[in-house]
Amino acid sequence: MNQAKTVLIIDDDPDFVRAVGHLLRSAGYAVATASNGRDGLAHAKTARPDLILLDVMMQDRTEGFFTLEQIRDVPALRTTPVIVISSIYSDHPVFRVSPESGWLPADLFLPKPIEPARLLAESARLTAPGYVAGEATGKGSELR
């Protein structure tokens, strides 16, 4: 029997964490959570999840971007698939840097509110054997 893939959700919105956690568990994933970047990074270093879902606007409105850089600084996490999930573009229209332009060292950007079917499909794709890290965000700056 295959071991369940693990997903770490880093988000400060307990409702989002509860809903997405339930969705992923029902699809057979093992789910861990953290409510801020610092705790999420610490958990990722020790647990080495198969996938990380990362919010951007937490205590600081750009916290997730900094957390992502720190995740990529950890050699063991450099190619761990990360989906950045945020409403930063709708909440701050002045920020118009496309996440697909290659600057974001993530594997995928998904806007909030999330589409459950899309999230499940992308989670399955990014945790499948043979997935090439960073392919969805213009190589995500080669994931640093």
Binding site: E63, F65, F66, F95, G102, P105, R144
Partner: protein, 343 residues
């Protein structure tokens, strides 16, 4: 030079895209001081800092670095690639930018350029920011209070916005990448920049007269001041370690047990150290502390002026705070000029 502006409230968004240009370092609180380090989040960044403990020199001349390794079986291995990581230094003050420009004269523009320094310099973007001088700053006296070169972007506080001077094509790339965060300044913004610039000049409370200092140092070569300073100086080298323009280094081979492999290592040195002028055979050209501290002042305020046309001091005031014996460069210059007593 292209001049733009960015709302202060959007600086965090702008900083978020900068890692695309290299690992981001910015001033963060460290104990009772500040240091250039990787911020864990934008709220860690302290842009209104007086000065960092160490200057940005550490990013170009690390306190300790292996230059190459050697092995009797495989030969030499160049470690230059380890100096090629891209970096972004965010929030660098004008005097520290001048400090780097001075180091350039020694390591990049001289007869022999240093490939390790050059590689890091080329791969490091500088985003400057202005500052309010405190009692230790005398950058105005050293013509290092305003930077017009040596940065990719320079931010100046004009109230709700920063005025952004774009200094290089890499700076322009940063602007382009950040999308629509920056915009054209208005005439009112420029007027505010000029007003604050004048205010900042007037805010300097510490200063020294430099005009004829090299000549006065020439006349005071045998002054009792040097002996008095030598009696106080502990030769700890703290002033050198925190100086943006000190560049003395030592090079030694570290050989592994078995003596078949090793590496050549460069480490910071200081002209205040007793061993600095010690040579083979045991001769020491600067045996006395007074001769060493005297050399430091003559090198920075006289020798460098003769060689490069300006002192190699930028008036950051770090050495004043770092000296455990309370030796204060501003006081020393005044003493030499006969303006105050030795104590």
């Amino acid at each position: 030079m292209k001049i733009l502006k960015i709302p202060k409230k959007d600086l965090d968004l702008f900083a978020s895209v900068l890692p695309a240009f290299g690992r981001l370092y910015a001033p963060v609180k460290r104990g009772s001081g500040y240091a250039f380090d990787q911020p864990a989040s934008w709220s860690d960044v302290a842009l209104a800092y007086p000065r960092t403990i160490l200057p940005p020199r550490k990013f170009f001349l690390p306190p300790r670095e292996a230059l190459f390794s050697f092995d009797s079986g495989t030969g030499y291995r160049d470690l230059l690639a380890e100096a090629s990581e891209r970096q972004v230094l965010f929030g660098v003050h004008a005097y520290d930018i001048h400090g780097l420009n001075i180091l350039d004269r020694v390591f990049a523009q001289g007869r022999y350029s240093d490939p390790y320094y050059m590689t890091r310099r080329k791969n490091t973007a500088i985003v400057g920011i202005d500052f309010d001088p405190d009692d230790r700053h005398f950058a105005r006296s050293m013509a290092a209070d305003f930077a017009d070169t040596g940065f990719d972007l320079f931010l100046s506080d004009i109230g709700d916005h920063y005025l952004v001077r774009v200094g290089t094509s890499r700076g322009d790339d940063m602007v382009v990448m950040s999308g629509c965060l920056l915009s054209e300044p208005t005439p009112e913004d420029i007027a505010e920049f000029k007003r604050r610039s004048s205010e900042r000049v007037a805010a300097y409370r510490t200063g020294v007269e430099l005009g004829d200092l090299p000549e006065i140092l020439e006349m005071e070569y045998h002054s009792e001041v040097w002996k008095e300073l030598g009696d106080r100086c502990l030769s700890c080298g703290s002033c050198s370690m925190v100086c943006p323009t000190c560049y003395c280094f030592d090079v030694a081979d570290e050989v592994d047990l078995g003596a078949r492999a090793g590496r050549r290592v460069r480490t910071w040195d200081s002209c205040l150290f007793r061993t600095h002028a010690l040579v083979a055979g045991g001769e020491n050209f600067r045996k006395n502390r007074s001769s060493r501290i005297m050399f430091r002042f003559y090198h920075k305020q006289r020798g460098f002026v003769a060689e490069y046309g300006r002192p190699s001091c930028v008036g950051c005031g770090r050495c004043i705070g770092a000296c455990p014996a309370g030796i204060d460069i501003v006081s020393v210059i005044r003493m030499i000029r006969g303006q105050t007593d030795a104590h």
